[in-house]
Amino acid sequence: MSSMLQVRGLTRRFGGLTAVAAVDLDVAEHEFVSIIGPNGAGKTTLFNLVTGLDEADAGKVSLEGRDVTGLSPDRLAALRVARTFQHGRVFANLTVLDNVLVGAHVRFRSVRPAWPGPLSLLDPVVELALALVRPGKVKAEEARMREEALQILARFGERLLPRKDNPAYSLSYANRRRVEIGRALALGPRLLMLDEPTAGMNQTETAEMQSLIGDLKKTGLTILLIEHKLDMVMQLSDRVVVMDEGHVIANGKPADVRNDPKVIDAYLGHRRTDRPPVAEAAE
């Protein structure tokens, strides 16, 4: 399997705190990797560094062998890296369908012809003209994307399709998370990064989300998942990476990681006294 994402020595400091400390991470093509770890372990910061929303102090990120360190988020999106956000970032005043269509932004080609060299300064003007005139090609592209967006919404059963014309702010929390995933799928991602997709969901909703993500895995999509619900992580993942205080402390098959003493330690508390961890956790 060739490497989709390769992270080497990635480091990010906030003042005195090292949120991500020399992290190495590999995700192979078609692989499903989960990152787990206590709150504040640096998982989301790692996502932000990889997707260009935050700038690393040191280290390197490569995508399919290409160095993408420090690339802006929009450039990374153009390389088909899609992500969702921990606290949810839907476009509140846009309809559900429009939210998904924004996800497909980088795939709109005929309305955004890229001219070479200095002529590219005129690109926005051309885009404006094409948006106003809307020749057949542009219309066909819009119709095709719309059709595809509806198919993506259909993946969520009856959750989103009946609400496709409702503004996102009117949706339930769980539905907003679904919209985010729909938007990510519309990008046609080569690498899909999901940041706690089931946060705030009840058991039924979580199970539904798990089966959806399982389906995505079956299509061969490369997925990097941050998740706290360990059952889901264990069932879906090919490999699990455990982070604590910015460091990767374990990396391996779900079953191996589950029994790793360092992992148990990280989850139950650090041994700073002579007391056994169980006593500490009981407090």
Partner: protein, 607 residues
């Protein structure tokens, strides 16, 4: 070299006066994350309160100062209680707009009570000057320096050693945590507004005494100077505000020494834009900025817009076209011509502020660029008027976008401040660049409207022309909003972080929206200049920027129909009720205030 000492003393004195303003702004920003645009009005009220006390009551200086502080503090409490506290939990932009409304209302009230003419504010201090080296220092200089130092010391003591001061600092650090620890956040706000406004009012009194001159128009400049000083020092940073103020005072004073008085404000605003763009956290901030917080859905009041079917809109446009035939009343037509021109301005701002979320407070500058370009093209180069208007629109789109482009990376209030400053810079360049713009004399004899060689010399033809231009641009804007661009622009507004992560290049789309909007504003300014036949640097003043904003909020942010409705209402209703001109700005301020409070989504709803 004698003068250098004098200029330095002058710079420090002015810096002290700015510091009294900026410290208040910093305190208010600290606890409420709000840039208080009403601060300059408090300063003006302070100046006039001092004027009344000195001239009517004959109070001695210490009593005057105490009186002015009391008046300022009371006013601050009033602003906090009635203008801002009801807006807790509203969109981020609501309190900012409310302070703009309050400032217009207060300034107009002062103007209506005391007339817009300047007054002298006599200082009871002896006019003695002490020789210092080769320069001199006056008693008033020492007083201002002393008050500055005393206020800083008092404030330091208050924040450092009193329980309420701790509460203020705790609230500034984390409002929710402070509340949970039992801090009465409302009391903190009251205190901060009272202190800030007391200091602001004294600042007004001192500046009046220093120049022996006060007038209601100094409010806007004072707010701007306070904001500049604060931004330079780091927003919300009290010591930074003092340092920024002194720096600003010195820069201005030396600038005057080198280039002359009319450049004073130009230096201040250029300093502001440079600091905003290069060091948005202020000159003294050292840490790298942490990633911004999400603002999802908090910027714009969510609402279901009223959707008027296109056929109905066309019908209404048709009816509007019939007005000159059915009611050929010149006064009615004049009013509606104005309404269509303001509607163009509204279309421009509703796209820029409403659709893509760049709340511009300097929109009048676009009118000015368009107006001057078209007038000068037609006058100096004999360009046919129709072509001149079109070229002016395009040039406004280009120049406006180039000027604002570096500020696109700023968010929320910072962008608004930058546009405000850029607007002022444009107006000052027009005033000072005499070889091109004819400076304060203005441009006269601008050719009247004509199209393809046909003079539009009747009210009726001007009416049809402006209506047609407005309808065409409105239709194009509808089409734009219905395309993928409408979706993309609104996504940028709703959540720029998510938009970026989905491949939307923010600069490109902000620029595209700004240029498109600027075109409409430029055309509006251009047509206006040909109708007026005379324009100067005050034709398109800052009040127009606020009127534009009021139009847009009245109609509903981003709403094309709303911009037209808002314009007809705001331009038309005062005419219908024959409101005297001096009350109009008061009404605009009140309308803005009431809208923000009671119907933030506007009449037609946000889009």
């Amino acid at each position: 070299m004698a003068s250098w000492i004098d200029y330095t003393v002058n710079g420090i004195v002015i810096g002290n006066i700015y510091a009294l303003l900026a410290v208040g702004l910093a305190l208010i920003f600290g606890v409420s994350r709000l840039i208080n645009f009403a601060h300059g009005s408090v300063y003006v009220v302070g100046a006039y309160a001092g004027f009344l006390a000195v001239t009517q009551l004959g109070t001695p200086l210490p009593v005057t100062i105490v009186l002015v502080v009391a008046v300022g503090a009371l006013l601050g409490l009033g602003i906090e209680r009635f203008g801002l506290r009801p807006l807790q939990g509203y969109a981020h932009i609501a309190p900012l707009l409310a302070t703009i409304g309050i400032s217009f209302v207060l300034d107009q009230l002062v103007q209506l009570s005391f007339s817009p003419d300047p007054r002298a504010l006599p200082s009871s201090l002896l006019d003695t000057r002490f020789q210092v080296g080769s320069g001199t220092i006056g008693a008033l200089d020492l007083l201002i320096g002393g008050i500055g130092l005393a206020s800083a010391a008092l404030l330091y003591w208050f924040l450092r050693y009193t329980k309420l001061g701790w509460a203020v600092r705790a609230t500034a650090q984390d409002r929710d945590a402070a509340r949970q620890m039992g801090v009465d956040v409302d009391a903190v706000h009251r205190t901060v507004f009272a202190i800030a406004s007391g200091l602001g009012a004294v600042s007004g009194l001192l500046v009046g005494m220093y120049y022996n001159y006060i007038d209601p128009a100094m409010s806007f400049q004072a707010t701007l100077k306070g904001v500049v000083a604060q931004v330079v020092g780091g927003v919300g940073n009290v010591p930074g505000a003092i340092a920024g103020s002194l720096l600003l005072g010195l820069v201005e004073s030396y600038g005057i020494a080198l280039f002359g008085t009319s450049y004073r404000n130009l230096f201040a605003f250029i300093l502001l834009v440079i600091v905003l763009v290069l060091r948005p956290n202020g000159l003294f901030a050292s840490r790298r900025q942490t990633p911004p917080e999400p603002m999802t859905g908090t910027f714009i009041a969510p609402s279901k817009p009223l959707n008027v079917p296109p056929k109905v809109l066309l019908g209404i446009a048709g009816l509007a076209a019939l007005v000159p035939l059915v009611f050929p009343h010149p006064y009615l037509m004049q009013t509606l011509i104005n309404a269509w021109l303001y509607a163009l301005l509204g279309l421009s701002l509703t796209l820029i502020a409403g659709t893509v979320g760049l709340v511009s407070l300097g929109h009048a500058a676009l009118l000015a660029i368009g107006g001057y370009t078209s007038a000068l093209l037609a006058l100096n180069f004999g360009v046919p008027v129709g072509l001149a208007i079109l070229s002016a629109g395009l040039f406004t789109a280009l120049l406006g976008t180039v000027l604002v482009f570096p500020s696109f990376r700023l968010r929320g209030h910072y962008l608004s401040i930058a546009t405000l400053a850029i607007g002022e810079i444009v107006s000052l360049v027009i005033l000072n660049w005499e070889s091109v713009t004819r400076g304060p004399i203005g441009v006269s004899g601008i050719p009247s409207l004509s199209l393809f060689g046909i003079e539009l010399d009747t009210d009726r033809s001007v009416y049809w022309f402006t209506l047609a231009v407005m309808v065409v641009l409105a239709a194009l804007q509808f089409r734009l909003l219905g395309s993928h661009l409408g979706r993309v622009l609104r996504a940028v507004r709703d959540d720029d972080v998510a938009a970026r992560s989905y491949g939307i290049r923010l600069d490109r789309y902000k620029g595209l929206a700004f240029a498109t909007g600027s075109f409409a504003a430029g055309v509006s300014g251009a047509i206006t200049s040909h109708i007026y036949s005379y324009i100067n640097h005050e034709t398109f003043n800052a009040q127009l920027s606020i009127l534009a904003l009021t139009i847009v909020i009245l109609g509903g942010m981003g709403n094309v129909t709303g911009a037209i409705v808002g314009s007809v209402l705001l331009v038309g209703l005062p005419e219908v009720f024959r409101v005297a001109a001096e009350y109009r700005v008061l009404i605009y301020g009140l309308v803005l205030l009431l809208l923000v409070r009671f119907r933030p989504q506007g009449i037609m709803g946000t889009v």
